[in-house]
Amino acid sequence: MAYRYFPGCTLHEQARNFDVTARESARRLGLELAELDTWQCCGAVFPLATDAIINLVSPYRALAAADGAGADLVTLCSGCLNVLRRTNRLVATNREIQEKLKSFVEADYSGGRQVHHLLEILKRDVTFEGLAAKVSKGLAGLRVAPYYGCLLLRPPEDMCFDDPEAPTILEDFLRALGAEPVDFALKTECCGAYLALRDGGRSAAAAVVRSAAAGGADLVVTSCPSCSYNLEQAGTALPVVYFTQLLALALGLDGAFGGHAVDPRPVLRKKSLLPEVN
Amino acid sequence: MSLTWEPRIVGFACRWCTYAGADLAGTSRLEYPAAIRLIRVPCSGRVNPSFVLRAFQRGADGVLVAGCHPGDCHYTSGNLFTRRRYSLVKRFLEYLGMEPERFRVEWISAAEGHRFAQVVREMTADLRRLGPNRKMREET
């Protein structure tokens, strides 16, 4: 199954390590993530106003491009997944909006395609047993707190990603890598998103990280650049990495751990998962 | 025929489920087109396929046969015979040239007042598009 890859703006800039580790790992697992040749920002937020159709033009264009290439769309960032998948569902179910977008974008896409997240593809095509077999260096001993945040899970009827209250896909993924997932209460709580910038340490993000630390986690893993930023700025010593970085590490590839606000490498060295600094 | 033609639907409704569902649409004050006129039968299994043709013969534009969902029949198996009979009769009517939208078989429970109103709305809309039925109809 060929997919068209929609990286999203942040993965070309701030979260380049997310993008690089994803591509390398995918290639190692035999998954072909051909990037869309033309794409724009997904709009970052799915418009709640029913007449804000102009905001849907960009995600629609990405969907139509993928459809044009005869493939489904795959993305990594929770934000992009949320916007693209909800746009896709709206186009498929709302005839009026579909007609307007078609005429405006001059494309003929009416919602037949699907939008996948890399984790979903790993689970379905590679399967976690298959992944475990491909792992060259299991992340034994590494205690990882899987943080879902909001955009992957909610609203449940649109996202259909996992059980909105008790998701397990990240835990299974981590076990496949040999790591030990840490269950913590706030794994599906909001990280504060844009509000976190205002009130600094006291923010929701701090509560999340504290809860993860309380669970005994060595580091937190997420799939959303904005959550990652907020959790890192929460002013605790708990490192926050993208799930693809651990995937790359487990597959013996470079985890691109440089450039984090809280450097995860000391923890990984302590767990002898990274070679000592030479 | 009145000046502006109004579609006429003859409905056969089983008293335990669909007829009660239609009553519920009434008690819930739902509104639906006046095209349908129901005939109360003890069970959808009572509806002889020749009744359906008699309705078209006498001028009905659409016919509905509706009963309990399979498994809920007050008489256990009435609707299961309906399912078998009308699987054949629906296709035979179309084979004779009847447009599929003119004859519908539905399962509508006593709790589905909305579903009943919805079916009537859908049928009426379809029949307005198709216009009056001429096929298998006697000359007046």
């Binding site: - | 013969q57 054949l88 296709r91 084979y95 040239g97 009847m98 298998m136």
Partner: protein, 318 residues
């Protein structure tokens, strides 16, 4: 003098002589050799006149309805007669023990009208072997393809021999699956074209009941279509639709495809296309491989918990 016919005469004769049967139903000499008539031999002499040749067309099973009242009756049974008898037995209208079946392997009956048109003159004899039919006329033997000579129903026949018989005149031929190309062709048309097809044919209907009275499945003591509440005597197209819709539904899952209704129709309405539609749907919807053969449980006399809702798929294609 074909020895099949001679063997039949001797069997019938001895059955009558021994009193094993009070009557033997078969074919006897008609006006022309190409039109033998249903024959009811009551003694050895009349049995001696029995005819068995490729001109024996009319269906015989339905006569058993009236002829077994007086006592057991013998019958020469082709596949269609055998299934017709099974139908009457299944409907409890004739006791199987009241009938002595002489099974034959039928290769199809020549349609006298088709033969006359092809030969252009009276026809005295016919031979069906493989795919050709040899007609003997005053001007010598002429041979034609089988599909030009035989009765429509024989061309579509899937049951050359009855499924059971008390004695066999010859080695029975195996049954086959029926195909329904005629139905499939009609299904491909749009609703209006299909209606036009049926309206054109049914408009000629005389309501003479030849089809009903020829049919082994139409064996009711009192037919509901004789009741004016169900069907008035008016002869409008809508009444014809009501008659043929009701009759087709009444024989649905029971018709044995003997084709006698279509053969008997004086105005050439393709009645089998009606019955075959029900057969095809029963085969496809209820997984009955041979819908025209009487089943253990009648298709419309029982249900299965996971029956499909046949009207759902009916919405787009038939």
């Amino acid at each position: 003098m074909n020895e099949r016919q001679a063997k039949l005469r001797s069997i019938a004769g001895s059955l009558l002589a021994e009193g094993r049967v009070s009557l033997f139903i078969g074919f006897g000499p008609g006006l022309e050799p190409s039109r033998p008539v249903p024959w009811f031999a009551k003694n050895a002499d009349e049995a001696g006149k029995l005819v068995l040749d490729p001109f024996c067309g009319p269906g015989l099973a339905r006569y058993l309805l009236d002829e077994t009242a007086a006592g057991p009756a013998g019958i020469v049974a082709r596949g269609c007669d055998g299934l017709g008898l099974e139908r009457l037995v299944a409907d409890k209208r004739v006791g199987r023990d009241q009938v002595y079946v002489v099974g034959v392997a039928c290769r199809g009956a020549v349609d006298p009208d088709k033969a006359r048109r092809l030969a252009g003159r009276p026809v005295f004899g016919a031979e069906v072997n493989g795919e050709t039919v040899a007609l003997t006329t005053a001007g010598g033997r002429l041979s034609f393809p089988r599909s030009d000579c035989l009765l429509d129903r024989c061309l579509a026949c899937a049951d050359p021999s009855p499924r059971t018989a008390d004695t066999w005149l010859e080695e029975p031929l195996p049954g086959a699956q029926r195909e329904f190309e005629g139905v499939e062709a009609l299904e491909k048309l749009g609703p209006d074209d299909r209606y036009a097809f049926w309206a054109r044919h049914l408009e000629r209907c005389l309501r003479c009941h030849a089809c009903r009275n020829a049919c082994p499945a139409c064996n009711c003591v009192a037919c509901s279509l004789d009741n004016p509440e169900w069907l008035e005597r008016t002869t409008g197209l809508a009444d014809h639709f009501m008659f043929h819709f009701t009759r087709a539904y009444h024989v649905a899952g029971r018709c044995v495809a003997c084709g006698e209704c279509q053969r008997a129709c004086p105005v050439g309405i393709p009645l089998m296309l009606l019955n075959e539609k029900f057969m095809k749907d029963i085969r496809d919807l209820f997984a009955v491989p041979d819908p025209h053969r009487p089943q253990e449980a009648e298709p419309l006399g029982h249900f299965s918990p996971d029956d499909p809702e046949g009207w759902r798929e009916g919405d787009e294609t038939l």
